[in-house]
């Protein structure tokens, strides 16, 4: 609730910060840092680099699919590209970006001086580059990297995979440990380090959504670690978890994987809901409509995420009653999600709206995420899922919720808080170019995928029937344009990090509410060493 942010920052706090030591210099500052702002910056840059690497792989995929037939890469390499693109975007781009935002913002939003476990924070970031070095390195070993899809279904990942699967398993273990440590840090920080007066129902929604996300992370990341361990032992040590000949069951892999995988989907979208819930009230100049219902809706989505996993498996031959259960449970999720969308709309209703860059991304998020949610509702319907399963319709669905959903929310967050971080307004002309180029190209890229999917084009195949050729050319052109648009973003962020631009006020945005806007711009290296009093 934004009225929570009527605060009292003690006078001596700012004076104290002036004579406190600033950031150390050189590379050791970044290697040894325990400062939540430094670690947040590291996470965000790492996520951005991974976003560009994973994006380059998407460019390879779209180049191959520009025309029917095989022309640029061989099918095995194509499969490696789809697999590693998915893994990098999920575990390397979206999740670290949210963790970076959590590091930067949660202490500033709840009035804490730092994260609760700063040394573990350093570790949880610095093991990530090794995880992805191993994953990317596996592309260059004999037999190639992982080529079984990011879902690594057995027996594709056991019987039919290359020996580099061991590297894949090891890197997923490290990513999992990193996420779990990050999540523990978030929970301990929020539980123990809130400023006096910052009660649960006064916490900003970004903090709430991250708290719930962190609980999802510690609940399901260990299950993923278990699943990859079983793949490892099945492949190399003669166990038969997923091998029918030894008494196992390959369908069980899908149950275990999606028991992790569906909550994982919400791990990648709940913090986005939090970001949008911060940005919309600022630029509508009204408090968020239905704060309490937002909190309860987030918690409901998180709980429901544990009982819907088998909607990814409708075609595995489940009995009808199980399909009915998972169909209705899945549809139930659209109720709390709908509450959120209506609350954002109601927040804007009769507000004094302005359309700065963060708001543009937030509005694009609300519209396009809802399109992705709607195609998800279509996929939940069991009989029609038999037609849509593993087609480009599914690809269209999850790219709408993850690119125009999660990624757009991250961009909105960067535009919203970047001036607070650097103390300078970013280049608004470049930002407008970035927004409009991204918005148009992302729809040219993903919207026609609905049509080719409904017409039956299967996903993860490097070739396709001739009748899909026209649409695929449009999709590829959209893809290249979207990829190039992100170079505008890169340029803008580099300029901002070099502290170019107009200085901004402490509040930055006229309607901004919250503790992070009470401190100076740029945010000092140490903040809230004396906790503020929240009234």
């Amino acid at each position: 609730m934004t009225k929570a942010t009527e605060t009292l920052v003690p006078d001596h706090a700012s004076a104290h910060q002036d004579h406190h030591h600033g950031a150390p210099k050189g590379i050791m500052r970044w290697l040894l840092t325990t400062n939540h702002k430094d670690i947040g910056t590291l996470y965000l840059w790492f996520a951005f680099i991974m976003f560009l690497v994973g994006g380059a792989m998407a460019m390879v995929i779209r180049a191959e699919l520009f025309q029917p037939g095989l022309q640029i890469v061989d099918p095995n390499f194509f499969n490696q590209m789809t697999t590693v693109h998915g893994l990098i975007m999920v575990f390397g781009a979206v999740m670290p970006a949210f963790t970076g935002l959590a590091n930067w913002l949660i202490p500033m939003m709840i009035g804490a001086p730092d994260m609760a476990l700063p040394r573990m924070n350093n570790w949880s970031f610095w093991i990530l580059p090794f995880a992805f070095a191993i994953l990317l390195g596996s592309l260059f070993v004999e037999g190639g990297g992982p080529a079984f899809g990011w879902t690594f279904y057995a027996p594709l990942s056991t019987t039919y995979s290359s020996d580099s699967t061991a590297l894949f398993v090891f890197s997923v273990h490290i990513m999992g440990i990193s996420s779990i440590m990050g999540a523990i840090n978030v929970i301990v920080t929020i539980f123990n380090m809130r400023a006096p007066g910052m009660s649960w129902m006064k916490m900003p929604l970004f903090v709430w959504t991250w708290l719930i996300t962190a609980f999802l992370l510690i609940a399901v990341m260990p299950v993923l670690a278990g699943a990859v361990t079983m793949v490892l032992t099945d492949k190399f040590f003669g166990t038969s978890f997923f091998d029918a000949a030894g008494g196992g069951d390959p369908v069980m892999f899908q149950h275990i994987f999606w028991f992790f995988g569906h909550p994982e989907v919400y791990i990648m979208i709940l913090p986005a809901f939090g970001i949008i819930s911060q940005i919309v009230p600022t630029f509508a100049r009204k408090p968020l409509f239905g704060y309490a219902s937002m909190v309860y809706a987030t918690a409901s989505i998180a709980l429901l995420s544990f009982i819907v996993w088998a909607h990814h498996m409708f075609t595995t031959g489940m009995p009808v009653f199980a399909e009915m259960f998972f169909m209705f449970a899945t549809m139930l999720i659209s109720v709390p999600t709908g509450v959120k969308v209506f609350n954002w709309v109601a927040t804007m209703w009769r507000g004094a709206m302005t359309f700065e860059i963060p708001m543009l991304f937030a509005l694009a998020f609300i519209v396009l995420f809802t399109i992705g949610g709607l195609s998800g509702l279509m996929l939940a319907i069991t009989p029609v899922d038999f037609q849509y399963h593993d087609t480009y319709f599914v690809v269209a669905h999850f790219h709408y919720v993850l690119v125009t959903g999660a990624v757009f929310s991250i961009m909105a967050a960067v535009y919203y808080w970047l001036p607070k971080w650097t103390g300078k307004m970013f280049n608004i002309t470049l930002a407008k170019w970035h927004f409009w180029c991204s918005l148009i190209s992302v729809n040219v890229l993903f919207f026609p995928m609905h049509f080719v999917g409904l017409a039956g084009m299967p996903r993860r195949i490097p070739d396709y029937s001739l009748q899909f050729a026209d649409y695929n050319q449009w999709i590829s052109i959209g893809g290249f344009a979207f990829g190039l648009s992100q170079l505008i973003f890169l340029t803008l962020v580099i300029k901002a990090c070099k502290k170019q631009g107009e200085p901004v006020s402490d509040r930055v945005w006229e309607g901004a509410q919250g503790l992070e806007w009470e401190i100076p711009s740029p945010a000092p290296y140490h903040t809230f060493e004396t906790p503020p009093v929240v009234k």
Binding site: A116, L117, I184, I187, V188, I218, G238, A245, D249
Partner: protein, 196 residues
């Protein structure tokens, strides 16, 4: 800050316990899955041990068609066919169907047959009194065998099921099986003279 590092440590410890517990839960899903499928029969797996037939329960008013499908896993060289593609049975009566296997390879191979019933619910009502699938089967190079499978359908089979399919997939388990001599095939026929 009002909070001490002891408080952080306590909460962290609790969260780490949850993490370890969930890692264990991931593995606990394996037996849970088997138990759940045993009770509900929803993954089409039949019992792995022989059922005992009770006489006097034959329901002559119903006929159930049972279809047999045989296949070998990739990399498995055996010939594998059923004596008949489908039979019609009354619930409660015991029928025996034989399956033919031949090992055309030049080496000895141990096989394991894995059954799967479709629709899955029928698996709960398919009772086998004898089956080659209960054990591993060994054949030396060039050997062949007829392997029997006796079964009856439980009269409690739901009314709406009139037809089900029993599929056997034969896996090569030579690498993980015990020594070939420990697995003398009880259904073995001597190699036909003149064959290789």
């Amino acid at each position: 800050m009002a909070t001490s590092s002891a408080q952080h440590r306590k909460l962290t410890l609790r969260l780490v316990i949850i993490v370890i517990g969930m890692f264990g839960f991931g593995f606990a899903l394996v037996p849970l899955y088997d138990v759940f499928c045993d009770i509900t029969g929803i993954n089409g797996k039949t019992q792995n041990s022989a059922a005992v037939w009770q006489s006097g329960q034959i329901d002559n008013s119903r006929s159930i068609t049972v279809e047999f499908i045989t296949r070998t896993n990739s990399g498995m060289s055996w010939e594998f066919t059923a004596q008949t593609q489908r039979i019609s049975v009354h619930p409660g009566e015991v029928n025996t169907v034989s399956f033919y296997v031949r090992n055309p390879a030049r080496n000895n191979i141990i096989a394991q047959a894995i059954p799967s019933v479709s629709p899955g619910q029928a698996a709960l009502y398919l009772n086998k009194t004898e089956c080659f699938c209960f054990n591993q089967q060994a054949l030396q190079a060039g050997q062949e065998a007829w392997m029997p499978m006796s079964f009856y359908v439980d009269p409690d089979l739901p009314e709406d099921i009139t037809y089900f399919t029993l599929q056997y997939t034969l896996y090569d388990v030579t690498d993980r099986a015990a020594d070939l001599t420990d697995n003398e095939n009880p259904f073995l026929r001597q190699p036909v003279s003149g064959s290789r």
